[in-house]
C-alpha cells in the first residue's frame, strides 16, 4: 500500500494529508493576498481575515484530531440523532432574531464572537446519517423504490430548509452528494435514474421560479451583455482569471482583488488565485482536490470489502461533498456555472466551512485507519484476492 505509514496505532494516508496541508496553505496565502486591501479598509487591520481564518483552521485541526480518535461505530449509532440535530440547526437559523442576514440570505447564526453557518455541519451530519441509512436498509434499497425514495425525502426536507435561507448552492451540493452515495451504495439504476430526473427537474424548476436565481442564471450565460449590473461579478472574475495567463501576475499583485471583484476572499477566491498564480497554480489546486476525491472514492469499495461499508460510505460522502463543492465553485469562477454563493473548501475564507471541512476530513482519515486495521486482520488470501 503506497502512502501508508503506521504511527503508533493510527494509520495515516500520506498523499491525502499532504494534499490537505497543501490546499490549506495555498488557502491561507490566497486569503491573505485577496483580503489585505479589504481588511485594511473595512477593519483597519490588513491581516484581519487571515488571522481569523488561521484561528478557525486551528479549531478545525482540533476537530479533525477528535474525529480521528473517535471510533466510527459511535457515529453509526448516533446517526439518527445527528440527522435530528442537523434539522434543528437548519430550523434555528430561520427563526427571526436568531438568524443573521447578509446580502439577503439568512445563513448565519450570530453567537457574538463567532458567526456560525449551520448548513455546513448539517450537511456533514446528513452525510453520516445517509451512510448509516444505506447500511441499515441495504435490502430494502436493492428490492424496492421506497428504499431509495425514503432517504431522498429526508434530504428533500433539509433542502426545503436550506432554500428558505435561501442557500441554493448548499441544497444542490447536498442533494448531489446523497445521490452519489446512494449510487455507490447500490441503489437500483432504474430507481436512481427516476429519482435523479425528479431531483434535476425540481432543481430546474426552483432555479426558474425565482427571479433572482433566474437573473443569476442569465448573467452567467452571457456576462458581457451587461457587465456593469447582472454580469458584473462574473466579468470581474473572468478578467481576473484571464490576466493570470500561464504563470500568473505574481503573488500579491492581483489588481482585481482591489475592490473590482466582489467576494474576492470568499466565493471568488479562485479567480484571485488564478490571476496571481496562472494556469500552473490553478491546475495545482484542481489536482490537489483531485487527490482528495480519489483517495475518498477508492476507500469505499475497499472498506466494504474489509467489512466496513459504513466507513466506506462516509469516506465516499466526504469525497463527494468536498469534490462537488470545489468543482462547482471553480466552475462558477470560470463562468461555466451560474453564481451560487458557494465557497471553495479549504481555500476560501469562511470559518464554519474551515472547521467543518477539516472535521469531515478527520472522519475520512479515521475511516482510512479503521479500514487499514480491518485489512490487517483479514486472511492473507483475502488480501491477495483484493489485489
Amino acid at each position: 500500500m503506497n502512502g501508508e505509514l503506521r504511527i503508533g496505532t493510527i494509520h495515516i494516508d500520506h498523499g491525502l494529508t499532504a494534499a490537505v496541508i497543501a490546499l490549506v496553505t495555498i488557502g491561507c496565502i490566497t486569503i491573505g493576498s485577496a483580503s489585505i486591501s479589504l481588511a485594511d479598509r473595512e477593519v483597519g487591520e490588513p491581516l484581519f481575515f487571515l488571522a481569523r481564518h488561521a484561528g478557525a483552521l486551528a479549531l478545525g485541526a482540533l476537530a479533525a484530531g477528535i474525529a480521528m480518535a473517535t471510533p466510527m461505530a459511535l457515529w453509526f449509532r448516533l446517526s439518527p440523532l445527528l440527522a435530528l440535530g442537523a434539522f434543528a440547526i437548519l430550523a434555528v437559523v430561520l427563526v427571526p432574531g436568531l438568524g443573521h442576514t447578509v446580502n439577503g440570505s439568512t445563513r448565519w447564526i450570530d453567537l457574538g464572537a463567532f458567526t456560525v453557518q449551520p448548513s455546513e455541519p448539517a450537511r456533514l451530519a446528513l452525510v453520516v446519517y445517509i451512510a448509516s441509512y444505506i447500511v441499515r436498509h441495504q435490502r430494502e434499497m436493492s428490492a424496492s423504490l421506497s428504499g431509495f425514495v425514503k432517504p431522498m425525502l429526508v434530504i428533500a426536507g433539509a433542502c426545503v430548509l436550506l432554500l428558505a435561507e435561501p442557500d441554493f448552492g448548499a441544497a444542490v451540493v447536498l442533494t448531489a452528494t446523497v445521490l452519489g452515495m446512494l449510487f455507490v451504495g447500490g441503489a437500483r439504476i432504474r430507481d436512481f435514474l427516476l429519482v435523479l430526473s425528479v431531483a434535476v427537474g425540481a432543481l430546474a424548476w426552483l432555479a426558474l421560479s425565482s427571479s433572482y436565481r433566474l437573473a443569476r442564471l442569465l448573467g452567467f450565460m452571457d456576462p458581457w451583455a451587461d457587465p456593469y449590473a447582472s454580469g458584473f461579478q462574473l466579468t470581474q472574475s473572468l478578467i481576473a482569471i484571464g490576466r493570470g495567463e500561464w504563470l500568473g501576475v505574481g503573488l500579491g499583485d492581483s489588481v482585481q482583488k482591489l475592490f473590482y471583484l466582489p467576494e474576492a476572499h470568499t466565493d471568488f477566491v479562485f479567480a484571485v488565485l488564478a490571476e496571481e498564480l496562472g494556469v500552473i497554480g490553478s491546475t495545482l489546486v484542481i489536482g490537489l482536490f483531485g487527490v482528495i476525491i480519489y483517495k475518498a472514492c477508492v476507500l469505499g469499495p475497499r472498506a466494504a470489502k474489509a467489512g466496513l461499508p459504513f466507513q466506506g460510505l462516509v469516506a465516499t460522502g466526504m469525497g463527494l461533498l468536498i469534490g462537488l463543492q470545489a468543482w462547482i465553485n471553480i466552475g462558477v469562477n470560470l463562468g461555466l456555472l451560474p453564481t451560487k454563493g458557494l465557497t471553495l473548501p479549504l481555500i476560501s475564507y469562511g470559518r464554519t466551512s474551515a472547521i467543518v471541512t477539516l472535521a469531515g476530513l478527520g472522519l475520512l482519515a479515521r475511516a482510512y485507519h479503521e479500514v487499514h486495521e480491518a485489512e490487517r486482520r483479514l486472511p492473507a488470501a483475502a488480501r491477495e484476492d483484493r489485489r
Binding site: 441495504q138 457587465p227 477508492v298 466494504a304 467489512g307 461499508p309
Partner: protein
Amino acid sequence: MSRRRRRAQVSLQRWRSAVLLISFAVAAAALEARLVYLQVVDQAFLVEQGDDRHLRTVQISAHRGSIVDRNGEPLAVSAPVDTIWANPQELRGAIDRIGQLAGVLELEEDWVLRRVTSNLDKNFVYLRRHLRPDHAARVLQLGLPGVATLREYRRYYPSGEVTGHLLGFTNIDDQGQEGLELAYDYWLRGESGQKRVLRDRLGRIIEDVELIAAAKPGRELRTSIDLRVQYLAYRELKRAIADSSALSGSVVVLDVHTGEVLAMVNQPSYNPNDRSQLDVANYRNRAVTDIFEPGSSFKPFVVAAALETGRYDASSTIDTSPGYLRVGNRVITQDYNDLGRIDLATILARSSNVGVGKLALDLEQRQLFGVLSGLGIGRLTESGFPGESAGVLNDPEYWRPVGQATLAYGYGLSVTALQLARAYATIAADGVQRPVSLVAADAAPPGRQVISATTARAVKNMLETVVSPAGTGLRAAIPNYRVAGKTGTAKKSVVGGYSEDRYFAIFAGLAPVSDPRLVTVVVIDEPRGEDYYGGEVAAPVFSAIVSGAMRLLAVPPDALQTTYVARSGGGR
C-alpha cells in the same frame, strides 16, 4: 459480483465508485479546458477588458511658481488641495448612498444627485473642488465606486491684503486673473503633464504605469517688493486713511538706484485668500490704474523745464506781486499771500501758483512738453502691470495760455502715483530715468538722461527747502536724514469745474538728499477731516514710511544730529 455478495451484505461495487471518479475526472477536464481557454486563448480580450477598467490617463497638475519678495519671503505659494470628482457611470451603482456622500462633501443632496443622474453619459464630473486633503480623505473613506480625487493646487497669499492689489489672484484653474499673477502668468504657470495609472475600483492610484508627459512646474517670480517696507507702507497708509476718513489712498516706494518698486500699497484693500466678500471696486491697484491731477506736486517739473532752457538758474527770481495772475481778463491763479519777488526755491517752498504760472507762460510750449514727457508724464511706465493707466498730458497743440499756466501747478493733466514716483526718481537720480520694475533686478538697468544732472540737482536742492520750517512740507521731515519733496493739494475735478471741498492730498519726496535712495509718493483721496492739505495729511505718512524704510534698508544717515542723553543713575 458474486464473490462480493458472498463476503459482505453491503457491497460497494467498484465500478460504481469508478463511475463517480470518472465523472469527477471529466468535470475536472472541463474545468481545466475552460481554465486554459480563459488564461491562454481568450486572454487578450480579458486583459483588454481589465485595462479598460484599471488603467486611466490622469492629469498631473503642475505646481505654479511661487511669488517671493526681493529677499525670498513668500508672497504667493501653491498648496496642494484635492478635488473630488466622480464617474457617474460607476457612481450610479451606489445611488442610494448619495445622501451620505453629499453629507461629507457638505453639499445639497439634490444637487449631487442631479449632477450624477444628468451626466450618466459622461465619465467625469467635478463634485467639489479644492478640498483640504484631510477632508478629501474622509470622502474617499466612504468607499463609493467612481468617486476619486484629483490633486490640484490652490494659491495662498501669506501677506493677505497687504500685497493683495499687487499680486492679484488666480482663478480656480490656477490661471492668473489680476495683478502680477496675470502679468507674469506665462512665467509662473506650470504645464500639466499626463500619466497612465493603475487604479483600484475606488479610484485610488496603485501604480504609475507610464508617464506620457511630465509636468513642468512653473518658475519662481522674485519681485522687487521688500515685504518689510510693504508692510510698513500698508500700515501707515491704512492708519492715515482711517484717521482722515479718506475714500482711498496709495503709496509707492521706488528704489532710486535701480528703478525697482520696493512697496506699492492701496486702501481700501481686500484679502485675496477669502474672495467670498469681495467688492470688485477694491480689486484695483489704484497706484497704477487710477489717475489724478497732481496739483502742486507737479511744480518741480515746470521749474526743471525752466532751468533746462538755460535762461533760469537757482538764483533767478520771479515777481509774484500782487499775488494773483491775470491771463487775458481773467484771474486764473491766486496765492494766499503776496510773496513779492522770490527765487525759484521759494516758489516751491511756498508753493506759489503765481510764480510757477508765470514761469510756465515764459516757456516755449514744445520745450515744456518735451521736458514733462521726458520725465514720463503721459507715458506708461515699464511696470507691465495689467490695466495700467498712462495718465493724460495733452499735446501743446491744444494748449491755451490759461491751460499752460494751470498746467504749471498741476491741473489739466493727470498722472498715476507710479508715474509721479518715476518722475521724482528721475530728479533724484540726477536726471537719469531708469525703467520702473516690479521684478527684482540683479543690477541697476541702464538709464536715460532725460534732464541734465545740473538741473536735477538744482531742483532736488530746492525741494529740500520745502521740508523746512519755511516750506509747506515740514511734516515730511525725518530725524538724521535730509529729505526733499513737494506737497500737493489738488481740488477734485467735478462736473462743471472743480470742487471747493474735495481734495487729493499728495506728498512726493526723496531721501536722503545727499545720495537719494528712496522716492516715495503718498496720495490720499478726499481726506474729510479738518486737515486736508498734502503737507498735513500726506507728509506725515511719508515721514513715517521713509524713516522706517531707511532703518530697514540700513541707509546711512546724512544729517546725523548729535544727541546728548543725560546719563542717569550715577550712584544712589
